[in-house]
Structures are given as C-alpha cells and as structure tokens.
Symmetry: C2
C-alpha cells in the first residue's frame, strides 16, 4: 500500500528495529488513512466471512474499529494487557513477551466475548517477532473461536515473524512489509 | 440516548460507583452502537466546527475513531497514560488521579500533534469526578489548542464531576447520565 509506505517513511527511525508511527497510527490517528487501510483489508480478505474482529490494546483498537466498517460493522474485541481489578471467572490469560518494551505482560480475554465456532479476523498494527500474534491466536482458540486470518498494518518482514504461523496454515496479510531499515532509510518488500 | 441506557442496564453493577460496560464498550466494542453514538454527538455539536478530536487511552479510542466519521474524518489524538521509553522533547505531561484504579498516572501528549489555535472536541467514555477530563483540557491548552466541547458517553451524574467545568464555561454533552445506582439498578437523568 503505497500511501501507507510513504507515511512510514516520514516517521522517525530510532533504531533498525524501532520505526515510530506516532504521527498517523500510535498517538495521532489519521482516520482517512485508516479508511483506506480498511478497504485494503477488505480486498485482501474478500473471500472470508467473519463474525468478529479481535485486536490487542492499545494501538490496534482504532485500526480494528475502522476495519470493522468494511466487514458489516462486526463487533471488535480488544485483548487487554492488564488484569482487571475486578476478576471474572471467564477470564482467559496468556503470557506474552513484548519485544519493544522487553518485558512480559499478561494478555487477557473474557471468554464470554468469543462464542464457540465464531470466525475471527485478527487485526494488529505491527507484526515483529510474532509474540503478540501468538498470544492473540492462543486466546481466541482457547475461547473456542477460529482464526480465519490476520491483517497486519506494518510487518517487520526482516524479522521473519510470520514464518511459524504460515507453516501452521494461518493466513497473514500485511499492508506494508519492511524489508530493511538502514541508516534511517526504510525499504519495503514488493507485493 | 435510550439504546445506550439499555446497554448500560444490561451490564454488571459491581458497586454503586462501578458500572461494567465490557460487553459493548470497554472490551467488546459494539460498532453499530458506536455509529449511533457518533451521530448523537454530531447532533449535539452540530453548531461547532472542529479540527481534531482528543481522547484518553484506552477505552476512549474506539469511540473517538468512530465519532470522527461524523466530523469529516478529522484526526484523532489519544493521550497516553504511560511515558514512552523513547522520550520526545515535545512531550507535555500532566499527573492525573484515577478514581477507578485509585492511583496516579502521568498523562502524556506530544505537543506536535496539536497546532496553536486548533479547535478540539474532547471525547471520553466516562465522566466521573472529572480528573481525566481536567488532565485532557490542561494538556490540550498547554499545546495551544482550544477545547470547544467535551462529548461523554456515560456520565456518573451523581458525582457532579461536570460542575467545575461548566462554571469555567466549558461545554459538556453526555449521552447517558446516571442519576443513581442502587441495589444493582441503574437509573438515568432525563435529558
């Protein structure tokens, strides 16, 4: 997605593995661009019928909400990264290691919000080493849902995080695939 | 907003001051309902022109993203509740006391995302004692923006949090105003 790539290239590159997208995705949100992202995911997943979208807080939420508009306004469930003070007996948990923050967190999903057999489209802003995606899939499947695909806005393709998922048969579609980041220049994979 | 009130009444009431809205707003998100919420805010603020929407992570984000659709897709900026590991010299900060979690957090806004003189509509899921709203207004004004109004999904009207803001001339519109919560029954104020 050309326009998305241009926005990414305008961001600060802090280190090869940290590309800042605060100007349009993770602090300020460009809603017009998110609508184009929603259209693009609809095109990629036009052959798939889904019941719900699942994402991870925080930065996946706005993307998932706008993407839902292109899939008949299906409900969005966002996985929480913090245990609620009010525990629920339905709460499913999964430990996830955050690559960016270099620490573990507990991803939580109230099992009541995924019904057995529901077809789930996963949406997230980044795919790096795949730890967050692994946690999301695990929680959705524990709740009885089926992951019909994962729509990723920005993939750090150089980290090869998608490989183990594709080997297991999961379908991943990424709109911008970063091939390399060298001396502040972000390069993308074609296609 | 009748439909919104009905959703709130279906939620668990943990204590008089804690009404759970995880089933449609804060964990699972009902996008169809959010669109009606967006329409309702547009109706309330039809006379106002805005440049941006500002909200607070996490639960304000989906609301703000959908509300933007009814205001010409203006950009949304969400205030963060955690300092980024990568500090920015443009970061504005404000200490806020969370009533629900009974602890302080540092609300952060990158001043580059609010331009001097921009007209800001604040959006949040809850108004309780007003601490979060106070922090939002303070950050927006520090950045040079003008708060033209605050759109609140659910107001705990019995806490009277809106009073100091109205006394200072801020305009607040809430779609559901909880008058009381007694023995698990939520009652709403008219109008």
């Amino acid at each position: 997605m050309k326009e998305l790539e241009e926005y990414i290239q305008k961001g600060e590159v802090i280190a090869p593995d940290i590309v800042k997208v605060d100007h349009f995705l993770n602090h300020q949100i460009n809603i017009k661009l998110l609508k184009k992202i929603g259209e693009a995911f609809k095109e990629r997943f036009h052959d798939v019928s889904i019941d719900k979208i699942v994402t991870m807080e925080t930065s996946g939420i706005a993307v998932a909400a706008i993407v839902s508009l292109y899939f008949d306004d299906v409900p969005v469930v966002y996985i929480k990264k913090e245990k609620s003070a009010i525990t629920s007996k339905n709460m499913l948990e999964e430990k996830v290691h955050s690559f960016t923050k270099n620490k573990d967190y507990i991803a939580c999903l109230d099992g009541r919000y995924i019904q057995k057999g529901e077809r789930i489209l996963l949406i997230d802003d980044f795919l790096a080493n795949g730890a967050a995606l692994k946690g999301m899939i695990s929680l959705v499947e524990k709740a009885g849902g089926t992951c019909v695909g994962a729509g990723i806005v920005i993939e750090k393709a150089f980290m090869n995080g998608r490989k183990p998922f594709e080997e297991k048969g999961y379908r991943i579609e990424a709109l911008a695939r970063i091939e390399s980041v060298e001396e502040g220049i972000v390069k993308f994979k074609k296609g």
